[in-house]
């Protein structure tokens, strides 16, 4: 750990080094200072957001972002033994991967949302856009996040949006994944309400959509 760095920068370095010992040390040091601040909001979340921005700027690899996110999750699950403070109750949010078995993006988004205090139901892999929409309608989901890897799967999100409209549901569909990053017009083409270029941008997107103060 480099002395003199602010805790979130120290945490960022430890996350990028995939060094859980250093990460523990940062948080222990932070607790010792006795600031009374929430270590998630003041240390881990800013560190992960900074890592997400660096990835978006092309300065980091997706593997580094993923490993940093996993390390943060592990620290919370294994070490701290404390609950991440949840936001005040919010409308149901769910997430699914459409068609593909590559769940990396979903996992990153779920971790990012969880660290920011959002409760997101993990619906795993969906193979049928219409069935996914019907489930969202049935469970009165306010925001349905759909991740895709293949271009064809990305285009099939249009089927989710159309089915929701036909059902009269006001569920908003948020899309993500490589096809939407590579072709920014695709989000509008499939009728989605929004997209986030990085997992760390998802909490702000949810705040905006659900009008819940961070």
């Amino acid at each position: 750990m480099k002395m003199g760095m602010v805790p979130s920068r120290q945490a960022e370095q430890a996350l990028l080094d995939v060094d859980i010992t250093a990460l523990r040390a940062v948080l222990a040091q932070f607790h010792l200072v006795g600031s009374g601040l929430d270590p998630f909001e003041t240390v881990l979340t800013p560190a992960l957001e900074s890592i997400g921005r660096s990835w978006e700027a092309g300065e980091l690899a997706l593997a580094q972002v993923y490993m940093a996110s996993r390390l943060a999750e592990r620290l919370i699950e294994e070490d701290l033994g404390v609950q991440i403070p949840l936001r005040r109750p919010h409308p149901p949010i769910a997430m699914a991967v459409l068609e593909d078995y590559h769940l990396l993006g979903k996992r990153l988004v779920l971790a990012s949302a969880r660290l920011a205090g959002w409760t997101v139901a993990d619906w795993g892999v969906a193979s049928d856009p219409q069935e996914l929409a019907r489930r969202a309608h049935r469970e009165q989901v306010a925001v349905l996040m759909v991740s895709t890897l293949m271009e064809r799967s990305a285009r099939r999100v249009a089927g989710v949006v159309e089915t929701l409209r036909a059902l009269g549901a006001d569920t908003r569909v948020v899309v993500g994944g490589a096809p939407f990053r590579l072709d920014p017009s695709l989000c509008a083409q499939v009728g989605a309400a929004g997209t986030a270029a990085t997992a760390s941008a998802v909490p702000a997107l949810l705040s905006g959509m659900l009008a819940v103060a961070p």
Partner: protein, 347 residues
Amino acid sequence: MSVTAGERLGAALACREADRVPFFLPVTLHPAKHLGLTPEAYFREPAAVVEGQLRMLDLLGHDAVTSFLHVSAEAEAFGGESRFVADGPPNAGAPPLAEAAQLERLTVPDPLAVPALARSLAVARELKARLGDRVPVLSGLTGPLSLPVLQLGFERYLDLLMDAPQLVQRLWRINEAFCIAWGNAQLAAGVAALVIFEPLASPALMAPERVRGHGLPALRRVREGIRGTTLLTTASTPVGSALAGFLELGFDGVGVSCADSLADAKARCQGRTALLGGLDGLAMAHWTPAEAEAAVRGALAAAGPGGGFILTEHHGEIPWTVPEATLQAVAEAVRRWGRQPISGAEP
């Protein structure tokens, strides 16, 4: 005497000019549509693939055909499956290597014993028999660093890199041997050049130090083990700072993404290795003929001067949604603007 496609491609691979810039549109899916077949019916019948590739050659007049079928065929070599759909490429099913014990027991599969790969070899043999050296048969394979995405799933791959890197290193070694065997089998069947798809060597996906430490040595061994012409590409993922390392590996050509500067890449490759890329398949889906022409002219101006450039789609597969008319507009633009020598002036 007119220059053949084989001579044109050969000149580019030797970093020389010919009569015009060679181009190849990787139409792996369009022939099925053209023949009125479902992708599954098409890919399961080598004679249909041969017929489809020859029809695309007539339609587009590009400088190669391909015996490459679909990426998920390689997953089948490791126990995976291809899931066919009616309107796109088959997707790989659930990753086949779910347990650590499977990785510990894994041996190098024989590509000749995998039906989907055997079909690709049958296509290569027949295309070579029909076209001889006049039009080269290209194909490809997934590189040793990227195969684990099919074998394990991306998430589990990265989890293992964190928790059991020795298992991943073992898998990479097995994949190297598989890539060499699969590559040499394709060359023996008549393939003239192999494109190695290695998106995981991109700094956008894997940390550069990990690629330098393990990835580049593995790619060098694969290149040395394959007894023929090999080209390396990150399959539309940005190459960025990795290009310098790629150039040290001795591949006959290097592909870059449309997110990379084609002109910068050309300047670094000039006289050293051929450069391939220049066209974005996703963007192609909504190009007008004028936009297709502008894209071709832009790529030719950036990378055409001096030879050593192969104009192609940067990912390695033209999306199903790209109209045939757009592909024809691209082909027409290359014939119109690709005559060499080319000046570097912007169109």
